[in-house]
């Protein structure tokens, strides 16, 4: 099992064509290269080479909800989607609110070998919103946590949010806020507007997101802290963040692929595959989000990959779980929503799906531009392929994808992580092989 890979004739994000040599645990050379001995050669004619994708917002479900996903299956889904690193959200059971839990997750990720698993720590104990979790202990643990989030719940108490923002400055941390005013969204089922009134579903008003973001950017300004806003979903939120950035506030924001592409009209048939939190919004919102991603108001795309077992979605709308799987489809959806129409080029895609998320999360060895000496994290994407997204494209444990049956452009052909291929010819490598490669790579790097 060679650790020396020569990729021939790939198109770099800049548009230049180049050969790429991965050797000795780094990208050894980029340019016109003749094959060295023992290298596995990959023909990348027509393929785009991107730095390995980094997802700042993934739910891996382990520990506690292994019927939905595990670290192994979730990182297989990540690899299938071209990701080489995922930030694992804290809403596991037990909640990732102690050093022990985050270290366990990171270690499960290392032994599975498909992607770097960087745990996110909970802001509050048990995600209860009452008292701060041991943020410092998680930061100093072997998991080296820098991103903290109660995602799934909003840190709605303004004083607690202020303290959290201030406290994590001690170790260059960031609070990633799930912006949802809880009182304004009691029982909420979908975006509040014309359609919710007609369908008789309790509305989730845009103001419930926008008011929290407005409060938080002002808090971040007041205490001089760094704030990250999860899954921005409304045109109004974009305006608030644009204002905050113009004012010099240290805020970053993410949008999900589904909020870029899908709209609330899909809910008309009450199909729970389209139930997600925050909810799908109006067409105007998707357009504002795309423009914001293009002009940098929104910094990154993050999947909010949220696996659920079949029974959690096979029900009446109210009883169904919120969430969609998104790792495997993310790059194709971004391609469809903002690349095909020219809003983003491939260097922008590398920025929003790899470089900036790694930087926000302070994750080393990820999100580095493809150049000699960079970490050997790489994705090869075929932009010309267009196909119906089907079950065959899903590699995780759950199948709650809103894209099944929809034609999407592009396809991930290969993913390289830590110098070895986790996906080759569009197929996820078997877990035993990957674990062995990971063990060898870890041994090689860390002695």
């Amino acid at each position: 099992m060679s650790m020396r890979h020569l990729i021939i004739g790939a198109t770099l994000p800049s548009g230049e064509r180049a050969d790429i040599l991965i050797d000795g645990g780094i990208i050894a050379e980029v340019g016109s290269i003749s094959a060295p001995a023992g290298a596995t050669v990959h023909d990348a004619d027509g393929l785009i080479a991107l730095p390995g994708l980094v997802d700042l917002h993934t739910h891996l479900r382990e520990p506690g909800y292994e019927q939905s996903e595990t670290v192994l299956t979730g990182t297989q889904a990540a690899a299938a989607g071209g990701f080489t690193a995922v930030f694992a959200m804290a809403n596991t059971f037990p909640v990732a609110d102690t050093a022990g839990v985050v270290e366990q997750e990171a270690s499960l990720g290392r032994s599975a070998g498909y992607a770097t698993v960087q745990p996110i720590g909970a802001v509050t104990v048990g995600l209860k919103g009452a008292e701060l979790a041991e943020l410092g202990a998680m930061a100093r643990s072997r998991a080296n946590v820098r991103v903290f989030s109660d995602d799934g719940f909003c840190v709605s108490d303004p004083l607690l949010m202020r303290r959290a923002l201030e406290y994590v400055k001690a170790f260059d941390g960031v609070i990633a806020q799930h912006a949802q005013e809880p009182r304004l969204t009691e029982g909420a089922q979908m975006n509040e507007g014309v359609l919710s009134g007609e369908l008789g579903l309790v509305g989730w008003p845009a103001v419930a997101e926008e008011s929290i973001i407005a409060r938080d950017v002002l808090l971040a300004e007041h205490v001089g802290s760094r704030l990250h806003v999860c899954h921005v979903s409304t045109a109004g939120s974009v305006e608030v963040i644009r204002w905050a950035k113009a004012r010099g506030i240290d805020v970053t924001a993410e949008v999900t692929p589904h909020h870029l592409l899908l709209t609330e009209d899909l809910i008309r048939g009450y199909d729970p595959r389209f139930k997600v939190n925050p909810p799908l919004r109006r067409a105007e919102d998707t357009l504002a989000l795309r423009a914001a991603l293009a002009d940098g108001t929104i910094d990154i795309v993050a999947t909010d990959h949220a696996p659920h077992p079949v029974e959690a979605k096979e029900s009446e709308w109210d009883a169904a779980a919120n969430g969609m799987v998104g790792l495997e489809s993310a790059l194709s959806v971004v391609h469809a929503a903002v690349v095909e129409n020219g809003l983003l080029d491939w260097s922008d895609v590398a920025r929003v799906l790899s470089e900036t998320p790694a930087r926000i999360g302070r994750l080393r060895g990820q999100g580095e531009a493809i150049a000699a000496g960079a970490a050997p994290e790489l994705t090869l994407y075929d932009p010309s392929a267009s196909s119906v997204f089907d079950l065959d494209r899903l590699a995780g444990r759950s199948t709650n994808s809103p894209y099944l049956g929809r034609t999407l452009p592009g396809r991930v052909v290969a993913t390289f992580h830590a110098g070895y291929a986790t996906v080759i010819d569009g197929r996820v490598r078997p877990s035993e092989e990957t674990a062995e490669l990971a063990a060898a790579a870890n041994g090689g790097i860390h002695g």
């Binding site: 089922q189 509040e192 507007g193 014309v194 919710s196 009134g197 007609e198 369908l199 008789g200 579903l201 309790v202 509305g203 008003p205 048939g269 009450y270 029974e311 096979e314 029900s315 009446e316 709308w317 109210d318 009883a319």
Partner: protein, 316 residues
Amino acid sequence: MKHLLGTRELGRDEAIALLDIAEDMAAVQEREVKKLPTLRGKTVVNLFFEDSTRTRISFEAAAKRLSADVINFSAKGSSVSKGESLKDTAQTLQAMGADGVVIRHHASGAPQTLATSGWIDAGVVNAGDGTHEHPTQALLDAFTIRRRLHGASSRGRGLDGVHVVIVGDILHSRVARSNVWLLTTLGAEVELVAPPTLVPVATGAWPARVGYDLDAALAGNPDVVMMLRIQAERMHAAFFPNSREYARTWGLDDARFDRLPPTTMVMHPGPMNRGLEISARAADSPRSTVREQVANGVSVRMAALYMLLSGERGES
């Protein structure tokens, strides 16, 4: 017609055809023997996830008068309250050979989920889902209005030019939604009156005018005033200050009732809160259609079951 899930998708001709069949059914109800053999051998299940004795017995009477076998499945106290899913319940009914399922559910869209999921082949009648639709209530309201206006010459007619004011908790009312779609499809002009807190935030796409002033609406001499039930729990969620203020501002009290023209019908889907949204005098007056609505409910539900379950079921 394969299912009756709402009135929004119902066309004018289809709606009038159903109301005309209901006229035939009403004629049968005046005979000494009220029973027709039409649905003999068919099984209709009343699947009620919410208590509603009135609606259930109305459907039960309708099915029995068409000679169908009726099974009442109340979700309370059954395996459903112990966590059985809608899917498992549906598959149980399928295995029992249900031809029609009349479903009342607290979740908006549950009848549509049942009808389109592939879990069951039966025709589905929505008997009220969450705050979405209650199509047979709107049909019986339309039937009642048409009969009052046109009597024996009702057949074939719509409700063109009829001015209807619907008053009360529009936000949470499936009756209001179904009536807005159906009455306007039939040609009526619909006006909604409610406290601003009890109207959906965006009704711009609804084919109805929305106002907050009941006296102004009544001054337009409407043909029909339909009062909706106000539920006590709304008061605790700050939709309005208290029941006295509600009754003063949006209730059909004696003074407002007396100012109405003698031809104006007063409707209520029941059950009524006398003294809150409607005064006893208004409810019991000859202008009130409340009891007719109950009787007509059986005829309309017979018509719906007949259209769904007799002979070949169509594609839509």
